[in-house]
């Protein structure tokens, strides 16, 4: 019996590793995702919402993946850009200032504004590395949240902004979860497309080189200042985009929506998925954002289980579910290569 299962999984692996099989699989998943909102089942609205929300986190994850996964800059304050995007849209398209600018105009503006904030954050932290960077970015995230809480005249403070306009597309008001589901799906595809192309270009190579060895990267001519800022800007741009979509979808936002747990969630999902890997971001989002909703049936044990699973997942797959191609080779390689001087090997091989 066991053998049979093994041979089946073997077979599945085989099919998935052939290009046709892989595309067929991706196609099937995509088709399923496309038709979910059209199907008729009891918890449809709930699942549309949950998957839509997961999509939003895929967008955020793709953005942070540029910063953390590719450029190797540990950013714990990613929520700041999400907040900036969300507030930009909420302020410009609601009754708050009675300005009702179209979503499609504000969206790029909100993303650019967040991108600009990314550069502003980037400048002071250029010389910092690793955990120093982590704490400063964490602080930046908190500062933004405190500012939106306390700049009451601008943001209505803790009372939040309500009655945020819905986007319109060719006269259709995008209001329901299904509308946003498809809209987010489109943005997810765009974000995957863009980050993938960046990853494989000269820009992505420079980021990864910087992650691997900053000094050496600079010595081969990579302007590390510029590429760090670029990574922050691209990541923040995508985060801002996600924020604007979020505020349009939810229709109301409050400073509490932008607490540090958002940053931590996004960071966790890219690491669980496999740092630097785009399919990893997708899988990681399902694991981290959908999973807690599946755990709803455990009611108040939900977070306990979630914390436990986080530990278990990390121990079972320290490299994440789908390590990026580069990283996968690396992990395989660890067994081959002689332990370098920086390795910390305390016990025998394996």
């Amino acid at each position: 019996m066991k053998k049979r299962i093994a041979s089946v999984t073997e077979r599945v692996k085989e099919i998935l590793s052939s290009p046709i099989g892989r595309w067929a699989f991706i196609g099937a998943v995509l088709a399923l995702i496309l038709i979910i909102p059209l199907m008729n089942f009891q918890q449809r609205a709930f699942w549309v919402r949950v998957i839509g929300y997961t999509g939003l986190y895929i967008i955020l994850g793709l953005g942070l993946n540029v910063v953390v996964g590719l450029a190797g800059l540990l950013d714990l304050g990613y929520v700041a850009f999400y907040a900036i995007g969300a507030y930009a849209y909420a302020l410009l398209a609601s009754g708050h200032f009675d300005t009702h600018i179209s979503f499609w105009l504000v969206l790029p503006f909100a993303a650019l504004l967040a991108g600009f904030a990314g550069i502003l954050l980037g400048i002071p932290v250029l010389r910092m590395r690793g955990d120093y960077l982590a704490i400063v970015t964490l602080g930046f995230g908190e500062i933004i949240r405190m500012l939106v809480t306390n700049l009451t005249d601008l943001t209505n403070g803790s009372q939040g902004l309500i009655g945020i306009d819905s986007p319109y597309l060719f006269g259709l008001e995008l209001k329901t979860s299904t509308h946003f589901y498809y809209m987010i799906l489109i943005f997810v595809i765009i974000a995957i497309f863009v980050t993938q192309r960046l990853d494989r270009s000269r820009v992505g190579r420079s980021w990864v080189a910087m992650r691997e060895d900053e000094d050496a990267a600079q010595m081969v001519g990579v302007n590390t200042t510029r590429y760090k800022l670029l990574a922050f800007a691209v990541g923040a741009f995508i985060g801002g985009l996600g924020g604007a979509i979020f505020s349009a979808w939810q229709g109301s936002i409050f400073p509490d929506n932008f607490n540090i747990m958002v940053s931590i969630n996004v960071l966790c999902l890219i690491i669980i998925g496999g740092m630097g890997s785009i399919p990893g971001v997708v899988i990681g989002s399902f694991a981290l954002i959908t999973l807690p909703d599946i755990l709803r049936q455990f009611s108040d044990y939900r977070l306990l289980l979630f914390g436990f699973l986080l530990v278990v997942m990390m121990i079972a797959r320290p490299e994440g579910f789908i390590p990026s191609q580069r990283r996968r080779l690396e992990l395989h390689a660890e067994e081959i290569a002689h332990a370098g001087p920086s390795e910390t090997i305390t016990e025998g091989g394996s």
Binding site: V194, R197, L198, R200, S201, R202, V203, G204, R205, S206, V208, A209, E212, D213, D215, A216, A217, Q218, M219, V220, G221, V222, N223, T224, T225, L230, V234, R326, R327, L329, E330, A333, I336, A337, G340, P341
Partner: protein
């Protein structure tokens, strides 16, 4: 003609003077070595040239341009490349990718080109890949293009580091102990390779090396540093006989490396 000149360069770390009023004239298309005991300031000088350290005093000119205040990446753009004593490759990138990153200063495609895959981007990437493959061949890493740098054998890593440096088409290359950890046979090969770089690619070479056989074998001129101070400079034969050098560096049996040929 002078390609690199260092005038009165001084670099301090706290109380320690690592490089002390150092003058150096590097003539174009020579192979020039810097030797000296550990901690004599050789690598520190390399770091001053490549912009990682800003010297407190003095100035360094490359082809007449002052390097003062320039960031390492700007200096790389000017045409200086280097390798490291303890190899510093992009360990988790493939051989080809390492070389592609090395070509960075010569590529122009922007982020927008990359996202939109403009014709310009395609053309440039294709050419870059071609060039990378050519370099793989040149340094003798054929068949290892897809391997991650960290998986390469030691000697191949050394060669890849040089290939990466070559990718920017530099005019001057700084090599920091390129034969460290090699056996005499491999060292001899590396010596020939370095000579090739100069002869075929017309690159000026500045070398830090401990292996006296290599140093004496290929250098046209040798500078000896001790505690940051230049104590001697001249052609190999002269240096070998210099009593100050023997006392501070080579030792009585000086020859440890060289003399062995006669054993």
């Amino acid at each position: 003609m002078t390609i690199l000149s260092s005038n009165n360069v001084t670099k301090r770390f706290g109380g320690l003077v690592a490089v002390d009023q150092f003058d150096l004239d590097l003539r174009e298309l020579t192979i020039h070595s810097i030797i000296g005991p550990n901690g004599a300031g050789k690598t520190t000088f390399f770091n001053c040239v490549t912009g990682f350290y800003a010297p407190e005093e003095g100035d360094i000119y490359f082809n007449g341009t002052s390097l003062k205040g320039l960031q390492p990446d700007r200096i790389a753009h000017l045409g200086i490349a280097r390798t490291y004593q303890n190899i510093r490759l992009f360990a988790n990138m493939s051989t080809i990718e390492n070389i592609l990153v090395g070509q960075h200063p010569r590529l122009k495609a922007s982020m927008v080109d990359a996202i939109l895959h403009t014709p310009r981007y395609h053309k440039e990437e294709e050419e870059a890949l071609e060039e990378a493959n050519r370099l793989v061949q040149f340094v003798g890493l054929v068949g290892l293009g897809d391997h991650l740098a960290r998986n390469l054998p030691y000697g191949a890593q050394r060669r890849l580091e040089i290939a990466r440096a070559l990718a920017s088409k530099p005019k001057l290359m700084l090599l920091d102990e390129p034969t460290a950890g090699m056996n005499p046979h491999e060292s001899a090969e590396m010596m020939r390779f370095i000579q090739n770089l100069r002869d075929e690619l017309e690159i000026t070479i500045l070398l830090i090396e401990h292996d006296m056989r290599v140093v004496m074998g290929i250098s046209e001129i040798i500078t000896v540093l001790d505690y940051g101070v230049k104590i001697a400079e001249g052609p190999p034969e002269e240096i070998q006989r210099n009593p100050r050098v023997i006392e501070a560096y080579l030792g009585r049996g000086a020859a440890s490396g060289l003399g062995q040929n006669s054993t």
